[in-house]
């Protein structure tokens, strides 16, 4: 099963490598991985999408927690959450018919045209993983010349406990 795991880690040299190496060394799979600073620049949030049976996922969480600089690990599958991924697609528009195929996607706000070239467009879509897959499928018919995806980011609606990153950020902003 697909799981989205959120990791707060000290923003230090080599910590990302340590996490990525843990996945490869222990044979866990990474479907996508995003990393960026939190409000507190000394803490990074990683969002890892991985898959495996419950036992594997639990083991991944425990192994991540074992890392010295990891502050918090949350398997977000246990929580109500918002998940988003952004994709940029370079789509060929060779004729009027192609444009006609693209237009419904634009009018339904599934994609946004961000650049228009002589022979095509670059569109952007931000949606859940499954929707992105659908959009990509639809546009494949037109001819996708290039694609870049960010990987999933996710946030729980109600975090179970205040995370370390947020505590620190709050301290920073109030002081």
């Amino acid at each position: 099963m697909r799981h989205t795991i959120s990791v707060l880690v000290e923003n230090r040299y080599g910590e990302l490598a340590r996490i990525v190496e843990l996945f490869s060394a222990r044979g866990y799979n990474i479907e996508s991985l995003t990393v960026a600073e939190t409000l507190d620049s000394s803490v990074s949030r990683l969002t890892v999408v991985t898959s495996g049976d419950d036992r594997t996922i639990q083991q991944i969480v425990r192994q991540l927690k074992r890392l010295v600089r990891v502050l918090e690990v949350t398997d977000l599958n246990g929580f109500e959450r918002v998940e988003r991924e952004t994709v940029l697609l370079n789509v060929a528009i060779s004729d009027h018919a192609a444009l006609q195929q693209l237009m419904p996607l634009v009018s339904e706000n599934q994609v946004r045209v961000v650049e228009v070239m002589a022979d095509g467009v670059i569109v952007e879509a931000t949606a859940e993983w499954a929707q992105i897959r659908e959009i990509v499928q639809k546009l494949t018919a037109l001819g996708i010349r290039g694609m870049a995806r960010t990987g999933t980011v996710a946030l729980a609606k109600h975090m179970p406990q205040t995370s370390d990153g947020i505590v620190r950020a709050a301290e920073t902003t109030t002081s």
């Binding site: 040299y13 927690k65 010295v68 918090e72 995370s163 370390d164």
Partner: protein, 591 residues
Amino acid sequence: MPQMKSSATRQEAAAARLAVEPVSQTPPQPISGARILCEALVREGVDTLFGYPGGAILPIYDELARMREQLHHVLVRHEQGAVHMAEGYSKATGKVGVVLVTSGPGATNAVTGIANAYMDSTPIVVITGQVPRKLIGTDAFQEVDTVGITRPCTKYNYMVRNVTELAPIVHEAFHLARSGRPGPVLIDIPKDVTQEIILFDSPADVCVSGYRPETHANSEDVESAVEKILAAERPVLYVGGGVIHSGAADELLELAQMLGQPVTLTLMALGCFPPGHSLSLGMLGMHGMYAANMAVSEADVLVAIGARFDDRVTGKIDKFAPHAEIVHIDIDPSSVHKNVRAHFPLLGDAKTVLRQMLQALRRKVKPGPERLGAWWKQIREWQKHAPLFFECSTDVIKPQELCAQLYSVTNGEAIIATDVGQHQMWLAQFYGFRGPRQSITSGGLGAMGFGFPAAIGAQIAHPDRQVIAFVGDGGFQMTAQELSTAVQYKTNTKVVIMNNNYLGMVRQWQDLFFKHNYSSVDMEGNPDFVKLAEAYGAKGLRATHPSELRDVLERGLSTPGVVVMDIWVTKEENVYPIIPPGAAAREMILE
């Protein structure tokens, strides 16, 4: 479930700060990075380092020469030996072992030792030199990505990018190495960092906010585990190296006696329970006792204490303790449920958790000994059915006889370090280690060449004790050059070579599992080990016949200085019992 790891941060940091003695109250002095490092080591209580100099680490060696009074440096002959020595030193004392090597090949040679310490959770700190900062990433002379290479085999590692970070990193490294589940920590220091001069006065401040090792188990969990253990009809206590790390042998003995339940030890736990005790079933696992493995197979409650369900213990995992509910005491949450699902996980330090259990037990009515009567009757039958045995010979020295004689000559009180293989298993079977920290072995990694340098390290830690490297003829040759080190530092390290002119365990597997097709296991090029010893200025003795064995051991062990005893044993003897790899405990081959 998400877990907060930050709440105790400041408290911990404060405690850690207190643990580090402040430097003198004098005003800031201009001081080099190398000096800062050496003083930090002294503050951590280090008095011995094992190492090998080279270009990138020269400024530290320059400083060491001025600090001879406080820091005794042991010059090894190969960096792998340095790490094994530090591990032997640590295993024999419980202190953190320290290694100092240069960049590039110095660091890569150390990797086997570091990986060994990682697998066996030994607290060591490895300091590696690195090329100057401005040369990093340029493929400079003797540059390797030491931090990258050692990341998967260290508990944590550092590159010191600024001399002001140096002292805090050193103190943090020692804190990480010795706390929680212990392990190796590496500090990579660019040469120019050690040469930089700064005004330095601040004592170190240790703060690792995401790191809070478990100590006490949840008391409700302890309560329900204890109730389960008391209700057991066929219980077994399965004890691992964690009990030695946490110094919990006394608590274990008290618990076992209070419960009247059988105890079986892993290889890493040998010495933490009296070998002749009526509750002792001996070692379990691939070459463990028949009764121990059968008891685990039939157990209804299995209490794992500081053990990690290694495949050499469990054999086929789904046939391991199939009827048992499992209580798992471990300090490392990632060890719990890793290989076997635990019904009662108790996260914490073995000593603390055992004390919690003892306390809980004292409040409870213990069932009388008759409750486990049927279980013990069954166990005694297993013990009678397949005790350890070997056929004595008057023509050739049996390896098992060698181990038994070694036990008899040393009264079971020696510190003995081994490599991996047949000699290691026979010693585990036939040498009843009387106390913890006497058995020093390469368990998880199974590294040939570990035993001899580990013995030198243990001997340097305990100059007055009988320390023996018990090794095979193959493994000894992987680090035999350390004879030079053992002699240079006038140690009393003794080497007993169980010499069968074969890579015995590999030969045994080829015999049993590859239709006796021997492939590259014959060590026909072996040197004359007596002459080899003499070449290094050590004493060499040889026993080739049972009639010479006792005398050689007695003379060799009582002769001061380094002595190598070359004991010729049966060429083709197999270790029994054996659970074939991947098989269930019940499929044990007894002979």
